[in-house]
């Protein structure tokens, strides 16, 4: 059974096109849709981080992977399932990123390190609580560290 989701806001950012790396010095905003008031963000600035769920809206449906592929199509890395990677060409095209909260301004949330392009539809904003982060040591394959090596560097 399908579900219909409605953007709660949109990203205002400097990048107009998807890029793989160098998101470190990005400052971006989530501007809430007109149906929301500033009340919806009340208290959020007491948190240091927020998790932003958004839609990779520019991904062509025909390019969605539902099996396996080499991350970033790089043959140096193993072919892994689409649910074992975080690439954008995925079923439902939903991205999820933990960002640093810089400030709240009315119905706008100003963030550092949101890896989404200008105009991206936002589905949710959640405060980051330590209790919802991994409660044990994190283990991951070496290809994923290689893939992320330049991701958060400044441009």
């Amino acid at each position: 059974m399908p579900f219909v989701v409605e953007p709660i806001g949109h990203v205002q950012a400097s990048r107009a096109q998807a890029e793989d790396d160098f998101w470190g010095n990005e400052e971006a905003r989530v501007n809430l849709a007109p149906s929301f008031s500033s009340e919806a963000l009340h208290g959020l600035a007491e948190f240091s981080h927020a998790e932003i769920l958004f839609v990779f809206h520019q991904v062509d449906e025909a390019k969605i992977i539902s099996t396996a592929r080499h991350p970033r199509n790089n043959p140096d890395w193993p072919s892994v399932g689409i649910f074992a990677q975080r690439g954008k060409n995925r079923p439902n095209k939903i991205g999820s990123t933990i960002c640093r909260i810089l400030r709240v301004e009315g119905t706008s949330l100003v963030l550092a390190e949101l890896d989404a392009i200008d105009g991206t539809p936002v589905l949710d904003i959640k405060p980051v609580m330590r209790e919802f982060l991994p409660r044990q040591a994190v283990r991951q394959p070496s290809w994923s560290h290689e893939l992320m090596a330049s991701y958060w560097l400044a441009k």
Copy 2:
């Protein structure tokens, strides 16, 4: 502009009804929809944790909050915006939880600490990479620690 999302699978779990606390000893499965093969999960077991995006499908549309409220309606905690809390009665009704991967069995992912009830539609599975966790110290208000005090305890 609304988006249509389609469950990629469903949760198989012991709890049939939503509960606030004591999710610590839960073991649950995400069973992929028939359109997927085991390829979609290939390589996921090399990660210790996965982020599961799911729909709080039992939430009545009429009970969705788009302004502010006391978390869990507890007047001891401040009234904060719906985007400053993680409660289920939220626009788009999407939940996001980082779970521990126990094992992959064919088209099933077996998880510890998935706080979702039996039958929950799943929208995405993402591997947890340290690089996507907060890259700075996490700060959060004291009410959120109080709210989470019993969340991951065993029942």
